[in-house]
């Protein structure tokens, strides 16, 4: 059993009242294989970010399970999930960068606790920044970057540790067409490296892009596979 699988995944916000019947997500069944790029689209508020957070182990599902390589990750203890998350690269919709740190330091963050020589860490940072066209911004504080640069920096941070599972939430936000094309190239490269790549976006440019293996749509809390 390889890749990521979710089975009858359901999520209701913990602060929902008993009478609030609407689940954010319900009955999500999907399989994401290594070396594939999947796109999950849907309107704002459809639950795309929630789905990514569930897949990354940041949220605990109300019911159902998330499996990685046949292991039910969603049932793991928090400390095991923390360790598993080292295989996961995540691009948040709101970037979640540390603004007072430089771009390079932000990319370094996921690498610090890993058993890597410092020189290798710095090489990985430089490589990741170069791939998202931010090599010249390595020493700039993240807070001074533009919205598009910040989003690309978030992608650089996610790919620097060469994750086996890459989850990207609206990665093309604030990007012009050329930058979006460059970003797609990065995602393709990750897919070709063998990673499971899942992108959530309502950007039509991504929906039309070539090289996407599976297209899903979130509709009323359910995942519909388009192709």
């Amino acid at each position: 059993m390889t890749g990521l699988r979710c089975h009858q995944l359901r999520y209701r916000r913990p602060d929902s009242s008993a009478g609030d019947a609407a689940d954010v997500l319900s009955g999500i069944d999907a399989r994401f294989k290594p070396g594939t790029l999947s796109l999950v689209s849907g309107p704002t508020g459809a639950g795309k970010s929630t789905l990514l957070h569930l897949l990354a182990g940041l949220l605990r599902p109300t019911a159902g399970e998330v499996q990685w390589l046949g292991q039910t990750v969603s049932r793991w203890h928090s400390s095991h999930k923390d360790r598993w998350r080292r295989q996961v690269g995540i691009v948040f919709q709101h970037q979640r960068l540390l603004g007072d740190l430089t771009a390079g330091e932000n990319v370094l963050l996921p690498l610090i606790p890993r058993r890597m020589p410092i020189r290798a860490q710095y090489t990985a940072v430089a490589d990741a920044l170069g791939r998202v066209d931010l090599a010249t911004k390595a020493a700039s504080p993240a807070a001074r970057l533009s919205g598009g640069e910040r989003q690309r920096l978030s992608l650089a941070r996610a790919i620097a540790p060469r994750p086996a599972l890459l989850l990207a939430d609206e990665p093309s936000a604030f990007q012009d067409d050329a930058q979006t094309a460059g970003l797609l190239q990065v995602l393709m490269a990750e897919k070709q490296r063998g990673a499971v790549v899942i992108v959530c976006s309502h950007d039509p440019r991504l929906r039309r892009a070539d090289g996407i293996d599976h297209r899903h749509r979130l509709h009323q809390g359910r995942l519909v596979t388009m192709e």
Binding site: H53, L58, D82, H94, L101, I118
Partner: protein, 381 residues
């Protein structure tokens, strides 16, 4: 180059601390001050207790004075020695000639050297008409003449000074020939200031003191070494306790401040949530916080304790004179004993560093055990 030898987590801990330099500098200064205050208090206490005990160990086991309604009167040497000889266990009774005199408004301790009044028993001291002085006596130097107040005034030649290392015991001491001391202190021939007695074993002191009290044909005051040691210890314990009372609230304030910031910092929570989303484990957080503790706490506490050590044991320190004993005029230099200071330093280091370590560990535990999504959301609110 430095990066090659430093663990990445240590570099990150230092970088993380540098993001809020003033806050951590204030913490470091507080820890430094606490270590200096607590270590200094305990080391000074230890130094004076050790030095006093060392000096008292050289003092006579029992000293007997003849009591009088006015205080004391000279003791007849022959009768006193005979009375002491009747008490089994009272060894080598020896009369001493000493007292207080004034030189240009300064009170000094005058002592005959050799101490026995008569005969001199083979020991050499200053020749008649000459004195050897401690370092704090009226700013005189060898070759000067020392003029004692009184009627008539007496003038003795200074032929030497005691070494500075003896100042703790002999700062205001003037050693002179027994004949000069007798004349200056107005003690008649055949009499002495008191009678010093040695004992075979320290444990016999108190019992012998009781026996000696009844052996003399006149009322006597008896002082013995064990009570003097006890009094000295109690005095220093009292001083140290008072000083520690200042330290305790300061430490509590530090703990409260640390706990408050650990619990309430939403920004720190958001950062921890993000780092956990990026693959940091609880163990990584503990490593980070322990490195942060090491970077802030160890140098501060180390410097604080080193300063405390210098305050207490730097050769020739003069501050204890005016501050602890009220000796404003020519305070003596102290050369204090550092025996046992390692244990005190360790204890002080533990008392300052461990509460801060507890705060750090609690913060690390909180950030490593909470839900990462919730921590990130806290930071957004």
């Amino acid at each position: 180059m430095i990066h090659r030898w430093c663990p990445p987590m240590l570099i990150w801990a230092a970088r993380d601390l540098a993001r809020h330099p003033w806050r951590h500098l204030a913490t470091a200064l507080t820890l430094f001050a606490l270590a200096l205050l607590l270590g200094g208090t305990q080391l000074v206490r230890l130094a004076f207790v050790e030095t006093s005990a060392h000096l008292l160990a050289k003092a006579p086991a029992i000293v007997i004075r003849r009591a009088a309604p006015t205080g004391w009167v000279p003791i007849p040497i022959t009768a006193a020695e005979r009375a002491a000889a009747k008490v089994p266990g009272a060894l080598t009774p020896h009369p001493r000639l000493w007292g207080l005199a004034r030189i240009a408004g300064q009170t000094v301790v005058v002592m005959a050297s050799p101490p026995a009044a008569e005969p001199a028993r083979g020991r050499k001291g200053p020749a008649p008409g000459t004195v050897i002085t401690g370092n704090g006596v009226a700013a005189v130097k060898t070759g000067d003449r020392l003029v004692f107040d009184g009627h008539p005034q007496r003038s003795l030649a200074v032929v030497g000074q005691l070494p500075a290392e003896t100042a703790a015991a002999a700062h205001d001491l003037v050693l002179m020939h027994p004949d000069d001391a007798r004349a200056l202190l107005d003690i008649p021939p055949g009499h002495a200031s008191d009678l010093a007695i040695e004992v075979f074993h320290e444990t016999a002191i108190e019992a012998l003191a009781n026996d000696l009290a009844g052996a003399f044909p006149w009322p006597v005051q008896i002082r013995h070494r064990t009570t003097e040691v006890g009094r000295t210890l109690a005095g220093w314990e009292r001083r140290a306790t008072l000083a520690t009372m200042i330290y305790a609230p300061a430490l509590l304030a530090l703990v409260a401040l640390g706990l408050t910031s650990a619990v309430s910092s939403e920004r720190a929570s958001a950062q921890s949530g993000l780092l956990r989303a990026l693959g940091w484990t609880g163990r990584d957080f503990m490593r980070l916080h322990l490195w942060r503790w090491a970077v802030v706490c160890l140098p501060s506490v180390g410097l604080g304790l080193a300063s405390a050590y210098l305050v207490a044991f730097a050769p020739g320190v003069r501050w204890p004179g005016p501050l602890l004993f009220g000796w404003t005029a020519t305070p003596p230099p102290f050369y204090l004993s550092a025996a046992g200071s390692a244990a005190v330093l360790l204890q002080a280091a533990a008392l300052v560093a461990l509460p801060y370590l507890a705060i750090v560990v609690l913060t690390g535990l909180r950030h490593s055990s909470s839900d990462p999504h919730m921590l990130m959301e806290e930071g957004l609110r």
